[in-house]
Amino acid sequence: MSREKRVKKKVAPTDEGRAAPEREGLLKRKVIEMGETTYKIVSRSVTEYHFTIPFNLDDDERVEVGQIFSIKDGGLTFLARVLNIEHSSNYDGHWDTTIKGTNFFDSDQIFNRVIAEPLGCINKSSEFKKSRTLPTKFAPVVRAETEQFKFLSQVMGDIEIGYLRNGSRLVEEIPVALHSEAMDHHMGVFATTGMGKSNFMKVFAASCMRLSARGESKFGLLIVDPHGEYLKGKSSSKSTIKGLTHLKRYREGLACYSTSKQNASDPGVEELAISENEILPEDIALLYEWSPPQRDALDAISRVLDPQSWLEEIQLPEGMARMLQEGFKDSTINVLIRRIKNELGKNPYIRKRSSLGNILANLQKGKVVLVDIPRMSDRSELFLLSVISRYILDEYKKEEHEGDESRKNCLITIEEAQRVLGAGSNTARFESIAREGRKFGVGLCAITQQPKLIDKQLLSQFNTLVVMGLGDRNDRIQLEESAKQDLSSMDTEIQTLEPGEAVISTLKIPFSVPVRIHRYEDYLRRLDKEDKQESLITRGGFKPFLD
């Protein structure tokens, strides 16, 4: 074709040489109609999706932080969680503050821009994977429904704690359950007062009792309860809060010990006793602030006195004399003796007999062991916890060497954990469990309102985080900087959590999961009714919260 002819053809493709063009041939109409401008991916990258929604949605249609949306694009279904929602429009500049009047015509030009974090994508084989690509521009976005969450059921563990939450909506078909196997990798439960820590722990313990009673438990759970609320709950004129003993159907999964004579008179509750010879000077050490000479004297006790009977010996003139012979001043020794006597006086459970062997045995059987210590002082509680956990760790270490494979792992719960896991705290015992407990099958469950006070390095050892609403920015930053999974993008969601809601980051579940924790009393009713052989997490339709 000559250059001239080619030019002609390209300039005017409807030129002569063809029949007069059809009207459709010349007029290529494209019609844009209402309803095509929102719920579409408009940007932005593999790590952040933006899509638009109408700015004036009805209340029941509103989009919320934490809500999960799905984007079907070819053979992939992308899932993305809402991180933030911003006002936006197709107009530039400060149009919204300089407009005259309020008579808006084009509501479709004003919208909200939703910023979402990709969670991953589900392929045609229903496999969930982290996404290395992004959805096609203008790919349609819809609220994720049960169907898109089904893959989560396959990655859930055996300790049910609540239901998946999509924004404020429950997805009752998808129970959220932690993995027993992850428990020796330590767990942290973080929430300010009133957000539901105790409720969570009771639900968690109930699920563990259930597993134990069914012979499916993989670890024993130790709970030391200084508030006296886990054993029998609390009753007031307004409400009745149930305790773990109310779970009758799986009661055999629970072993209870109490320092209260009244509680210990209940069948199935043993009076707690710690033998004097199970107490070491280092247990006393964490009770007080000590001067350097006093600390030296404490450290020397194990060398100077008989480790089995030092507690008795040091209170006798012979023991005192031996310490003085070591060069310690009598005033220093007197302080030690006075403080030891104080503690022995305040803690009548210190006797000749001991419950520790039983506690250990129950834990190794995979039971929930509740140590009820109502009205015990903060210091005494720490002392008791120190004695018990040292004993447990030592025994687990021994058995690790002996290679006993029948014993179950163990998870030790510490309330107000910032007291013992804080930077600069003098409780190396708990730190050592956090650092090396996993090797011996001992995990820590640290419960605190102030994660900012917990040592960052220790926090980084926690592989399961249950975050239930933290108003303090420093607390959130501490978690974000230390957590194994990236929680930084969930800052807004964590701030806006309601009581009973949580975000859970754990091993084996591919992303941080938003959860509504079961209300313990409701969960109890459900467990009490269920068939013992029924697999709990396949059930659906249970309403966890009653009016």
């Binding site: 002609k8 005017a12 494209k30 107009y91």
Partner: protein, 339 residues
């Protein structure tokens, strides 16, 4: 230019051109009378308003031809509710003056039953503008096909058009009249002027005069028999100056075919009712939307330019050739980074 006295002088000259000092001189020299400003009574109506607009963006050019991206279409409203936007043309145009008939003839024949146009040498500079206008008329024609009697079609511009396309306008007028559709052209800017010594802006001054004479009303003024050259008699219609909304200080030139003369008060009343949006107070809202939906943004033009460069490279053109074709020497002078 740092001479302050020179700036003061220019500011004075501008004031002379723009300010309207009293109405007497304006009324006397334009032939406009106070009573010519007629109030518009806004009234709702059930019909649809079609707003036609077009856009034109130069993608590249060289001394003898140019490639433009041209888009035309219309937005449709029922009352204050947008119904749809229809794009009737969205394509590249290689504007070579020697290929004029190939560009225009098919459309003229197909949509308006007209024979080819014959351009003069002086017309060729504005070839792409004329082509865009032609596509806007095709859009009007398409809007007419979808309109019902009583509906209103607005055109962004004026009916005082390029001489060779007047036949198209005549055809459109005839079709609109036959269908009972009101057809108006609303111009955002106008070169109408008045004054014997210096050229004073007629539309702006009429807007100021109207605001003084009818401060709390929308109004319109017919230019029939006024001493202002609005191309009267060239396109079988009448020109008006209209303030659509009492809260706005803006007035616009509005052209209407002669068959609408008796209905102008009614038609403008319907339009005034839908010219008070918060988005663009005082301007028919449908035209505002048409402008936004149909415009070719700078980013869009740049994206097309990039894609075209890719195609040229695929076709074997060298970077040097492409630079010569697409580069603007001003970019070199301004030391802007190019491709």
């Amino acid at each position: 230019m740092e001479d302050d006295s020179r700036l003061s002088l220019v500011a004075e000259l501008i004031s002379d051109h723009v300010s309207l000092e009293g109405l007497d001189r304006y009324l006397e020299e334009t032939g406009v009378q106070s009573s010519d400003f007629l109030p518009i009574e806004p009234s709702e109506f059930e019909g649809e308003i079609f707003a036609v607009d077009g856009s034109n963006s130069t993608i590249c050019g060289w001394s003898t031809a140019r490639v433009n991206l041209i888009r035309a279409g219309y937005a449709v409203y029922r009352g204050a509710a947008w119904r749809r936007t229809v794009i009737t043309f969205d394509d590249l145009l290689l504007a070579d003056p020697r290929q004029c008939s190939n560009l225009f003839d098919p459309y003229l024949r197909e949509f308006f039953g007209l024979s080819g146009v014959s351009f003069k040498e002086s017309d060729l500079d504005r070839l792409s503008s004329y082509y865009r206008e032609l596509q806007e008329y095709v859009a009007i024609n398409d809007a007419l096909a979808g309109a019902r009697p009583g509906d209103i079609i607005l055109y962004d511009g004026s009916f005082e058009v390029f001489e060779l396309l007047r036949g198209v306008i005549a055809t459109i007028f005839s079709r609109a009249e036959k269908k009972g559709v009101a057809l108006l052209a609303v111009a955002k800017s106008s070169s109408l002027f008045w004054g014997e010594e210096i050229s004073l802006p007629f539309v702006q001054h009429t807007g100021m005069a109207g605001s003084q004479l009818l401060p709390k009303a929308a109004w319109y003024l017919s230019l029939k028999d006024k001493k202002v050259d609005a191309g009267q008699g060239k396109w079988n219609g009448q020109t008006y100056i209209v303030r659509f909304c009492e809260q706005s200080e803006h007035a616009f030139r509005v052209d209407a075919p002669s068959f609408l003369q008796e209905e102008m008060a009614t038609v403008l009343g319907k339009l005034a009712c839908y010219s008070c949006s918060a988005e663009c107070l005082g301007y028919p809202h449908a035209l505002f939307r048409a402008h936004r939906d149909i415009r070719i943004t700078e980013e869009e033009g740049a994206a097309i330019r990039q894609k075209l460069m890719g195609k040229l490279l695929e076709n074997g053109m060298s970077h040097a050739e492409i630079r010569m074709l697409m580069g603007d020497f001003h970019d070199i002078l301004e030391m802007r980074s190019g491709f």
